[in-house]
């Protein structure tokens, strides 16, 4: 029977970190788009 090794703390932290930074980048891109699209 194959058992997947449990995720290490470092791997879990890295995954969460990537998600967090992605959300920030998306938020910043949306704000940038608002500025470019609606501000002359």
């Amino acid at each position: 029977m194959n058992v997947e090794p449990a995720e290490t703390d470092a791997q879990r932290f890295r995954k969460t970190l990537i998600r967090v930074m992605t959300v920030q980048v998306v938020a910043l891109l949306l704000l940038w788009w608002l500025q470019v699209r609606f501000t002359s």
């Binding site: 967090v20 959300v23 910043l28 704000l31 609606f38 501000t39």
Partner: protein, 561 residues
């Protein structure tokens, strides 16, 4: 206020106290009272950290700022995700692994008792005062908008919070925070939907109108030390501020010390970073939409009804003339805004946008004159920006939803105070009572002392609030007070990571850091306070390192088993 809105507000406060007291079961000793036996799930800690950031001042003041100034305030938070990542990799594993109750307890192990006591004292001083202003700020607004006796407002916010915090400890605080956050986010989203329904143009046209007046300009890449809201002050100064606040302020440190493990502590910090910028953007956007709403609805000349009344009664013919002119310009702006919304060609759109900008400047000048007159008549700072949202809520939100939003403001105030009371009690008991007065005793004794400390700080906060409501500028003084210490305290923790740094260097460095900030504050008052944290931290590290030159590195303190 309508009885239905009252029922919602009082019902919510009762519910929160019930939840808080229910969660107090199982609190038998100091570790469970202050750290929930380090058993809280990461998402509870994360939501709790977020909740403490969303105070009533955010709900009232930041929305008002969005209405008058647009989105650029969001730059203030650009440093937060960076700070969370840095802390997650450095200080959080260290502090959590050290099995301390307070961040300052760690400093004695690393340096010496005087450094611990001085930093703990500075925390108590600044947090104790700020706790009072967190209660005072919404109490003043409620008093002006709803006509409530300001002392009753202080009691309605302070008493329930002290009750569940005192009895339940951090477990009650954290779980109540979760419920309160759900209410706050739901209220914010409901207000957005309401605004989009009430504004008589499409959402895209609403954004066009906001953009034409510069309210959607978020990013300012100019490098200007005197300007608080630029990209650079947010990323650099803001990172230092957030490192200091989340890394060394006990009200935040205590949250992640109560997580089950180092990994959960780091995840909880990252979780609060997840939604900070989007949530703040939502709050500011609500303010922007309120501005657009008032383009199409006759706005008050002054949003603070007490000040508006003072000008109307004190100078009736002046007020009538100002009102007539303001309404006239406002009607023209309404027409131009509709023209912008209906514009088909790019040149029509640009022309309408330009007219809107000019009208906006003219209307702002009239408001500035009215604000100046109000200040002259009342002898008080007007702070009109804090009354925009409550006035809108009272006069234009549907029945029931207004009650929900006001309950959310109470929730935000209670969240912030609960965290501060809990951390004030922790530091008082662990860093002073246990350290200097009585180190040995039963769990029951220390639990009783902890509860008493929470209650006493609650009373102190309510007393400060009672004075602060009459001294509006005190709120600003207290906020600036904190900026003297934060950066320097961060500097001490940074110094702790340098192996050669010694206790004397830390203590003297801390004083030097605060002196440097004072020099900048009084010598160059135009420099934005966000840079004070950088000045304080850097000074402490440099002075502390220089004083520690020579001698061998201090061995790292062993974690407590």
């Amino acid at each position: 206020m309508h009885p239905l809105n009252w029922a919602i507000v009082l019902g919510w406060i009762g519910f929160v106290v019930f939840i808080g007291l229910r969660r107090s079961r199982g609190t038998r000793d100091v570790e469970s009272y202050f750290l929930a036996n380090r058993s809280l799930p990461w998402w509870v800690v994360g939501l709790s950290v977020m909740a403490t950031q969303l105070s009533a001042i955010t709900m009232i003041g930041t929305t008002g700022q969005g209405a008058t100034d647009g989105l650029r305030f969001i730059q203030f938070y650009f440093g937060l995700p960076l700070a969370m990542v840095i802390l997650g990799v450095t200080l959080v594993p260290f502090l959590h692994g050290a099995k301390v109750y307070t961040a300052y307890e760690f400093l004695e192990r690393r340096f010496n008792a005087p450094t611990r006591s001085l930093t703990a004292f500075l925390f108590l001083l600044s947090r104790g005062m700020s706790c009072g202003t967190i209660i005072a700020a919404p109490a003043v607004v409620f008093s002006a908008i709803f006509g409530w006796n300001v002392l009753w407002s202080v009691a309605l916010i302070g008493v329930p919070t002290v009750l569940y915090t005192m009895i339940g400890g951090v477990r009650a605080v954290a779980w109540v925070d979760v419920k309160q956050m759900i209410l706050i986010v739901a209220a914010l989203l409901a207000v957005v939907v309401t605004l989009l329904i009430k504004i008589p143009v499409s959402p895209v046209d609403a954004l066009e109108i906001a953009g034409a007046t510069g309210r959607l300009r978020t990013f300012d890449f100019s490098f200007n030390l005197n300007n608080t809201y630029t990209f650079w002050s947010g990323v650099i100064g803001g990172t230092f501020l957030m490192l200091s606040y989340f890394g060394t302020d006990q009200s935040q440190v205590q949250r992640y010390l109560s997580a089950k493990s180092v990994d959960e502590a780091r995840s909880s910090l990252l979780m609060s970073a997840y939604w900070k910028i989007p949530l703040q953007a939502l709050v500011l956007l609500i303010g922007v939409l309120v501005f657009v709403f008032y383009v199409f609805t006759r706005p008050p000349l002054l949003f603070n009804p007490a000040h508006e009344r003072a000008v109307r009664d004190g100078l009736p013919s002046y007020y009538a003339l100002m009102r007539r002119e303001y309404d006239g310009q406002q009607a023209v702006r309404d027409t131009v805004a509709r023209k912008l919304a209906a514009a088909i060609t790019e040149s029509d759109r640009r022309e309408a946008a330009q007219q809107l900008r000019i009208l906006g400047i003219s209307l702002e000048a009239m408001r500035a004159e009215a604000l100046f007159t109000a200040r002259r008549i009342t002898g008080q700072q007007t702070r009109d920006v804090n009354y925009i949202m409550p006035r809108f809520v009272l006069e234009h939100l549907p029945l029931g939803l207004a009650g929900v939003f006001i309950a959310a403001i109470f929730a935000a105030a209670m969240n912030a105070i609960a965290a501060e009371l809990n951390s004030l009690a922790t530091t008082s008991v662990i860093d002073f009572y246990k350290r200097w007065v009585r180190s040995e005793g039963t769990d029951a004794h220390f639990l009783m002392v902890s509860r008493a400390a929470t209650g006493l700080w609650g009373i102190f906060a309510c007393v400060v609030a009672t004075f602060a409501v009459n001294l509006g500028s005190l709120i600003e003084v207290v906020n600036r007070f904190g900026s003297f210490f934060y950066g320097s305290i961060l500097g001490v923790f940074l110094l702790a990571m340098i192996p050669r740094a010694k206790g004397l260097g830390a203590f003297v460095g801390l004083i030097a850091g605060m002196a440097a900030v004072a020099a900048v504050n009084f010598g160059a008052p135009s420099v934005s306070f966000l840079w004070h944290n950088v000045v304080g931290a850097v000074t402490v590290v440099i002075v502390g390192s220089l004083l520690s030159l020579g001698g061998s590195p201090t061995p790292r303190p062993a974690p407590r088993r």
